[in-house]
């Protein structure tokens, strides 16, 4: 067999057989929620594949050109080279539009999968010792995913992305002491700046993707070293992993998941139009349209900017402008808390033990309630990011809807936390009511009986 000969050739030079065998036999526990992280990984792979294709045709230039391509409505319109090249990708490069749309959908799904994965890790306590490092790497990956989404969204230099950049510039400008210089260094001068597209291009296609790839490698290497967590169940203990082996069962399963993820994104890229920049038009600084909405993962920041009251700080002639609080402090606290969570929880619960068995969310009512409250908070911010769209749709005043969201933001998180706590307790109580077998007997091959203990996972009171 050719494979065996190649394997022998490699082993003679690297002695890799032992490690390779361990890898082939690596056991992956089976649970649907473990696939969320894999979906995120595959979205990244698809982003790289489609992104490389787009890079061949995209020009990150701000030089003004007059359009004479095949999209007639914009014929003769002045625009940047960047915007023109996106039109060319969309209308003149064969398979360009489908690649561009798959790329955009994959970016949306990438962040969604990362967040879903993070929620799974959070609510099941998978971040506890020994996995704190991977938790922090994961949070970093989330930040990088959002940052790369935003820089990519800015590249076409259309009206919508220009508005997003304008707001980002103002948020940077608002940082005390260093804001003005930082904004000028990032944008290459006062907004709009001639350098920002070129820079965002390098950040978007090189710096952040490489950082993501390196951290993903570390994320997976640590996962292999520490092995997977698993839900408690028969035969499962803190000292073992029960599931399917990498080769061949898990390999087939995960390849299937990769192709299905790609298939869904391909269908979306073909059928569901996304970011039709030819409708938004090229960026003009003096224009903006009502109902401007960012990509979904920036929605919470948009909502924060919209809901924050008209406060700013002025002291001795210096000022801390309003967007600093809504655009820097709120996301800053968000990510600080995420980074610190694994350590905060251990400190409060005084639980510094190694955990490889997952919690059911109901068995940790306090953590689950805090998580639900936080989710409620961000969902309200997200909804508030579309307050004008909601106001137009339901024909109510923007001011009213803004006030409602402001009140919701303070009142609903504690309420949902309380509700979640009660629900967890109820579910726990129901678990206790169910008649549980006092012993499980298993018949051995020789015909005898042994008592199987349930090693772990008895619900906590």
């Amino acid at each position: 067999m050719i494979i065996q000969r190649v394997a022998r050739w490699i082993d003679n030079r690297l002695g890799a057989s032992r490690a390779a065998r361990t890898t082939l036999n690596k056991v992956f526990p089976d649970h649907w929620s473990f696939m969320l992280g894999e979906v995120a990984l595959y979205c990244f792979v698809i982003l790289v594949l489609t992104g490389v294709y787009l890079t061949f045709f995209f020009t990150p230039g701000t030089k003004e050109v007059v359009y004479h391509g095949s999209y007639a409505p914009l014929d003769g319109v002045k625009m940047s080279q960047a915007y023109e090249s996106v039109l060319r990708i969309s209308f003149d490069v064969r398979a360009g539009l489908v690649m561009r749309q798959i790329h955009h959908w994959a970016a949306l799904m990438f962040v969604a999968a990362v967040i879903a994965h993070l929620m799974r890790i959070f609510f099941t306590g998978a971040f506890r010792r020994p996995r704190e490092i991977n938790w922090m790497i994961g949070v970093t990956l989330l930040i990088l995913a959002i940052a790369n989404g935003f820089t990519g969204y800015s590249l076409p230099d259309d009206q919508l992305s220009g508005t997003g950049l304008r707001i980002a510039y103002s948020v940077v400008l608002s940082v005390p002491v260093a804001g003005v210089w930082t904004a000028f260094l990032i944008f290459g001068g006062e907004f709009p700046g001639n350098e920002v597209l070129t820079r965002f291009f390098v950040i978007h296609i090189l710096i952040i993707p490489v950082a993501i790839a390196v951290l993903l490698g570390a994320h997976l290497a640590i996962l292999v070293r520490q092995k997977h967590t698993q839900f408690p169940g028969r035969g499962r203990a803190n000292t073992n992993v029960v599931g399917a082996r990498l080769w061949p069962t898990f390999m087939a399963k995960t390849l299937g998941l990769f192709f299905l993820t790609f298939a869904v994104l391909a269908a979306l890229g073909g059928l569901a139009q996304i970011n039709p920049v030819w409708i938004w038009g090229p960026f003009e600084p003096a224009a903006v349209s009502a109902g401007s909405q960012p990509d979904w993962y920036v929605g919470w920041l948009e909502g924060s900017l919209r809901l924050f009251p008209a406060w700013e700080t002025r002291l001795f002639g210096f000022e801390i402008p309003n967007p600093f609080y809504s655009g820097v402090v709120i996301p800053g606290i968000t990510f600080m808390l995420l980074y610190a969570w694994a350590f905060l929880e251990a400190r409060v619960t005084k639980d510094y033990e190694e955990h490889h068995l997952l919690d059911r969310p109901r068995d940790r009512p306090v953590r689950t309630s805090i998580g639900v409250a936080a989710l409620t908070f961000y969902v309200i911010l997200f909804a508030a990011g579309g307050n004008d769209v909601l106001a137009a749709r339901f024909d109510i005043s923007v001011n009213l809807i803004t006030w409602v969201f402001r009140i919701f933001l303070l009142v609903l998180p504690p309420l949902t936390a309380l509700l979640t706590y009660r629900l967890c307790r109820e579910l726990q109580a129901r678990d206790h009511e169910k008649p549980r077998p006092t012993a499980v007997l298993e018949r051995t091959q020789s015909g005898g009986y042994v008592e199987v203990e349930e090693p772990a996972g008895a619900p906590r009171a």
Binding site: L173, G188, N240, V242, A244, F250, K253, G270, V288, P321
Partner: protein, 284 residues
């Protein structure tokens, strides 16, 4: 169904799935060859990939050994002996470093200096902000022109009309974009000290929102309010663009206007305060 039957059925399913995938791929190539069509490409690609995905999932769930297999975890921390041996080896260098503390300090100085020097090229990324955030292109006597560069006359706007204007020669200049509103047909005083700023009912405000810099593009004629479409700050056009609602904390700066002998609108001067969103030393 017996086990062999189930297995045969699964094998058939996988074969069909892979076959469909292959056909879709052929179709995809053909569509591309014929000039390409976005929707068809997306659907065929989805079928090609979906067929593979479905096939692999059936293989994994029906045809391959399910286990469950159990793998024991290794103890993660190294043994005490290993850690101790590591620490001994580490001290090999540490001991030397401790004896040569002075060299270590000098290394710190050198590395620190190199680090600081390496930061200097960052300065090349952008110009000195200087007073560029405090000045726009409006000057004493700047001619007010619309987005096509046409001068604005007293009769250009009806009462209630709005226009985006720039100083002549600086069309599309982001920091100079100004919103011209005719709120009346006689002089308007928006605020004390601005008695002659709005001749013939023409008031001009910076179009850059004082919150996050979006163009304040919407004018509600009935209530004489300006609305920023980005974060819904609203400003009272009659009272010096005072913020009425939303996150904006400051009024939009007002541009003092005058009418020249030919009936053309001109600026009396630049704005008397920095336009746009706030920054640290804006008030200095």
């Amino acid at each position: 169904m017996s086990a062999p039957d189930r297995e045969r059925r699964a094998v058939n399913q996988v074969a069909v799935a892979f076959g469909v995938s292959a056909l879709a791929s052929l179709g995809l190539a053909a569509v591309y060859w014929q000039g390409g069509q976005n929707q068809v490409e997306g659907v065929l690609l989805a079928i090609a990939l979906g067929g593979l995905g479905y096939g692999f999932v059936v293989v994994a769930r029906r045809l391959l050994p399910q286990g469950p297999y159990t793998e024991e975890r290794d103890v993660l921390p190294s043994s005490e002996g290993q850690v101790a041996a590591f620490e001994t080896d580490l001290e090999r260098g540490e001991g030397w470093l401790a004896r040569r503390g002075f060299l270590l300090k000098m290394l710190g100085v050198a590395a620190g200096a190199l680090g600081v020097a390496a930061l200097f090229p960052l300065r090349s990324l952008g110009p000195n902000p200087g007073n560029s955030l405090r000045r726009t292109k409006w000057r004493r006597g700047s001619l007010v022109v619309d987005e096509q560069g046409e001068p604005v006359r007293v009769r250009t706007l009806e009462v209630g009309g709005v226009l985006t204007v720039f100083p002549e020669g600086h069309l599309e200049r982001e920091d100079s974009q100004t919103l011209l509103i005719r709120i009346s047909d006689e002089n308007v005083v928006t605020r004390k000290g601005r008695e002659d700023w709005a001749p013939e009912g023409y008031v001009a405000y910076s179009k850059v929102c004082t919150h996050a810099g979006c163009p304040v593009g919407l004018y509600q004629q009935d209530v004489k309010r300006l609305l920023c479409p980005c974060h819904q700050s609203s400003f009272d056009a009659v009272e010096g663009a005072r913020p009425m609602f939303g996150p904006a904390t400051r009024s939009l700066p007002q541009l003092p206007l005058m009418v020249d002998d030919n009936g053309l609108l001109r600026a009396q001067d630049d704005y008397d305060e920095p336009i746009g969103p706030g920054f640290w030393d804006r008030g200095r």
